[in-house]
Every structure is written in C-alpha cells, then in structure tokens.
Subunit: 350 residues, 2 copies
C-alpha cells in the first residue's frame, strides 16, 4: 500500500520542461534542498559552490539523512564555482534558493551578484534562512520579484567539505512575503510562486521516499512562523552562546528561571506587539522549555559558529526583533544585554 | 637623607612584646601581608596554610615583588596546617588577617573555625578581601570583635605553590567597620585597633624598604573605598569574565559604550543612593576608562578564576551591590543580567 506522500507524488502532473533552480550556499540546508528538488523530477538544480567546488565537482556529496538514508557521491544537475558561471550556464532561473547564513555583509554581496541571474516576470527568490526581516534587503533590491520565505528545523550541516549530516525531519513552512503588490505584480502571482515551489518540493520528498513526516507546508503568512522560531532562536540559541554551554546545562541551571524563560517572554511580548501573539503562546513557551532534556548536550548553531570563530547570525536573530521592540516600546532588558554581549564577542570574529 | 617612610619607622616606639598575628589564606595577598608585618619587627605571624603547608614548611616562599624585590626561601615565624594547630600553637592573637577569596561557603567555614582563635577584648579581625558587605557575616558571628576592613590593589598572586608574584605597589586603605558600638565596645576601641594595624603595617613597609609608594592609609569610613573599587570590579572584572576577553578587547570594542560605561554608571548610581556618591564621581569613571590601554591583555581575577574552574567572587562583587540597588530602588539592567549570566556560569564550577 502506498503512503499518503507516495500518492501525492503520483497525483502531481508531470511537466515537460524542468524548472531551473539555482541553489546558493550548498551547505547542510542547501544540499538537502537541492537533493529533494532534483528528486521531484520537475526541477534541475545548479548549485553555486565556493570553497568545496572542486571536491564536489569531482566526487559529489555524501549525505547521511534521517529522511533519505545514506546517499553517496550525489551531485546536483550542475555545480558552478560562482555567480558568474551560474549566469553564463543558464539564461534564466525559475527559482533562486538562498540557503546561506543570514549575515548582513554576505546578504549585500549576494544581492549584488544575483542581479544578472534574475529574469523579471519569471524568477522567484526562496529564502531558506534563519531570523526576522531577512526579506527586506532582497525586497528593496528586487521590488518586482516574488520572495518566498521559509522556516525549517532541518538540523542539517556539513561535517566536512562534501559530507552532509541531516538530523531532523525536513519539516518546513513556506509562504510568499508580499513586500509589494500592484496591478502588474499581484498577490496572486506571488502566492502562486510559493504554491509551485511547495508542490515541487513535496513531490521531491515523496519521490525520495522520505522516511519521516517530512513535508513542506504552504502558509498564507510566514511571519508568525518566523516569530515562533525566534522564541527558541532568540533565547536558547543566544543564551547558550553567551554562556558557552549546551542546552541541557541552561535548562537545569539557575539561568532557566532567571534568563531563559524571561527571555522567551520578552520575544513573545515583542511578537504580540507586532501582531503575532497567536504564534507565540504561553503553551509554546512551556513546550519549548520541556521539549529538551536537562541532560541535552546539544550545542545550538550560534554557539557552534562561535566555537568555529565564524560570524554569528546576530542581526537577524536578535537585532531585528529588538528593532521591532524599540518601535513598539516593548521592554527587553535581557535580550538587549545579550545582544550587546554577543555584539562585543563577534566583534573579534568578523 | 632618610625618606619619610624611613623616618616614620624610626619614630615608632619599639614594643617589647611582639603582636601575634594569624594570617588565614597565605596566597598572593596573604604572603605579602605576612612578609610586611614580620618586617615591622613588631609582629610575629602564624600563617594557616592548606595545600602548600608541607612545601612552605620545608622551603618557604619565593617572592618576586615590585615593592620588596626578590626574596627567596622566606618563611613567616610559624606555619601551621590548619586552624586547630593555630589555636594550639598560640593562646591568643592580636590580629587575625583574612586574605582568602570572599566566597559565601568559605566564609561560613572560616567563621566556624575562627571561634577558638578569638580572644574577647584582645583579638581584632582584619579582612583583606574584595567586594561589598564582606564584613556582615563576621560581624554577626563576632559582635564584640573589632573588624578592620581593607581595600587594596596589590595584584599579587601565587604562580605555583610557593612562589608569589607581586605586581602593583602595596597601596591599601584600611578602616574599622563599626558594626556595633556600645559602652563597653566603643568606636574608639575599634578605631584604635585599625590605627595599630596601620602603624605596624607601615613600619613593616618602611623596614622592608618598599621601592614604590607602597603605604597603608587609615581611613574613617572604608565603605566609600569599597564602592570606588567596585566601580572597576563590578564592571570590568565581571564583563571581561562573561565575555571571556581581556580588558583591552572590551575597551576597544563596541561593548565599551554599550556595556562597560553604562555598567559603571549603574554602580555609581547604586553607590550614590547608598550615600557614597563622593566615592564614585564621573571623573573616576573616566579615569578608569582611560587608565588601561586598548591593547591591554590583562585578564581580571574573576576571568582567571573561571579559566581555572575556580568559584567566582560573584556574591561580594555583584550580589551585594545588587541587593543595595533593590533596597534603594535603583535600576541596574546590565549588572542584573551580568549577575544572572555569571551565576549560571559558576553553577557548574561549584
């Protein structure tokens, strides 16, 4: 008997012309996205690689995935060593999927490089990135390009230049970020782009026989999901980084009550002031506090970045919600200090 | 021509009976105190040692001091391995000098052990320790014993079990902490104990031909000096510890303006609310901010303790002033969060 996801796959119409997708940042998240999209048999992927280009070109990726099992020597349709090659290789893309860290300088640089890759009226951007307000710089640069915004908890990372370890089911939410709507750039156009991406992605998950409840959910408004994820990212992730301790130590120490829970409530208060109170309920706070074991040795992404002396996603995880807090007049004593401490810490990293 | 300090030495009356002094905690601070006191030729010191007792008994201390130069194989009059031996060895002490870290559990334990060493009407306690309100537990335990409270910036530490490196001139302030005054336990009695200690100590500095402006200053009220030292300790020391960076990095990074200077102002606001505004002027804040070079690699004591996984002097350096802030209704957003962060960090150390 076929599973529901298998049936979904069969019910999708086959398209003659494959969608062309450019994936920027083939790290843990980007490689899994590329793998799923290609498995849909409705898309072919050009991956823009940097440091690992030659190795991936030669031997491909080895993937160890909770969804897809072990896959060796896998390559997307095409790998290129930079944006110029991506532009030369393919005249126009249907989707450009950004899966890099959301860092201000990197985003500026990507936006400059993206311009030749975007075909007005055809290309949509899909941002598979952490944080809040990540869409704004892309929207400013590409006012008539649909911007799809995705929130996931995939837990996928490179363990070396060509090996991906993918830990959690690939469950994501995606929606059109309606940055601008007018007669020639309608909301329907932008939502349709999101719906197409979701269709193809779920087809890929089905075809790849994902072993879990992996799925891509189309949502009307992605902002609530971003705030909900910030409940965790702006509290657990940032506090574990300042303290340089794993999740379990924070949950079982005095900081659980004096720092962690009040920090989550600060995020919830800002989200509520911004109109997203439904996305950040007290139940969600309690669930997040009880979902991880007090013995958990999990080191969140920002702490791993610090330990590897890489820049932190501080602006999109704390800077952006604090800007909203300021606009709305919400008091955030813990988040503000944690931001300033991390800002000082990363000053030496950048 | 004799220097003023040499003349001071000559002008002091010689006493026939040496004062008996027990020094508890012969680390960097205690060893220098013992050395100076013995050099006065007016006191003999019994040092209570723990882990380094056997080594010191055998070969003494090697001292490398900015004040006293290099002194090898130096032993105080007597070294003992614990409080019981100190009690057995000497029926009564004139001064018991506490130079350990000011940690709540350690203080409780010392107070319990001190009881047999204190002769009512004779013994005074001298606390050569960091922080605020350190006198309270001693005052509660010994209501009729003079408590001398000292603030210094000696920068002296053990580099191994028997070697002392003494970096900054031995300039200290000392005064009687008048915890309790009545007809039989007058303020004059308590001030006299402080004056005697200062006389002997300065005689020791003179006799030891201290090479710097080393001196012990008798002050009427030591609390102002403690708040002044907290300006540095509750800000530089604690922030460098949370951030795990040296002083220069904090001074040259963004945290100087967003964390350090406002934290100092919070200390000043609390001190002012407590009646010690004169001790914490804006000039002092600016001097402290400009006294250290932006290239300074100095790692403050609390950071060194953290790096060596030793307990932090958190309660006396931040806990006590924050208690005053709460009583006086002074807002301390930075100090409060830094306290909670350090409390979480040291939870694993103790």
């Amino acid at each position: 008997m076929l599973s529901p996801t298998r049936r979904l796959n069969h019910s999708l119409p086959r398209v003659k012309n494959l969608l062309d997708v450019c994936v920027v940042g083939a790290g843990g998240v980007g490689t899994i996205a590329a793998y799923v999209l290609e498995n849909s048999q409705r898309a072919r992927v050009t991956a823009v690689l940097r440091s690992n280009y030659a190795l991936v070109k030669e031997r491909g990726f080895d993937i160890d995935s909770i969804d897809h099992g072990k896959v060796t020597n896998w390559r997307p349709h095409n790998v290129v060593s930079g944006f110029a090659s991506a532009a030369a290789d393919k005249k126009s893309y249907d989707f450009i999927v950004i899966t890099t860290k959301a860092l201000p300088d990197l985003t500026s640089s990507i936006i400059a490089d993206l311009k030749p890759l975007i075909t007005p009226g055809k290309t949509s951007l899909a941002l598979l990135q952490n944080g809040l307000a990540i869409e704004a710089p892309f929207a400013a640069a590409f006012p008539n390009t649909p911007i799809l915004s995705s929130v996931s908890m995939i837990g996928s990372r490179l363990t070396n230049s060509t090996s991906v370890f993918h830990q959690y089911p690939d469950v994501s939410k995606i929606g059109a970020h309606l940055h601008h709507v007018d007669d020639t750039f309608t909301g329907a156009t932008q939502h349709a782009a999101a719906a197409l991406y979701v269709d193809v992605y779920n087809a890929g998950l089905a075809a790849a026989k994902a072993k879990t409840n992996a799925r891509c959910l189309l949502v009307e408004d992605i902002s609530g999901a971003r705030w909900a994820k910030l409940l965790w990212n702006a509290s657990f992730n940032t506090l574990c980084t300042v303290l340089r301790i794993p999740v379990g130590e924070l949950l079982s120490g005095p900081g659980r009550n004096t720092l962690l829970e009040p920090a989550m409530r600060e995020v919830a208060a800002v989200a509520t002031a911004a109109g997203y109170g439904d996305a950040v309920s007290e139940d969600m706070i309690q669930n997040m506090l009880h979902d991880s074991a007090p013995t958990s040795t999990f080191r969140p992404s920002m702490l791993v970045d610090l330990e590897n002396e890489r820049p932190l996603e501080l602006e999109v995880i704390l800077g952006a919600p604090l800007k909203v807090a300021k606009e709305k007049g919400v008091s955030t004593p813990i988040l503000t200090q944690v931001y300033e401490l991390l800002n000082q810490i990363q000053w030496k990293l950048t």
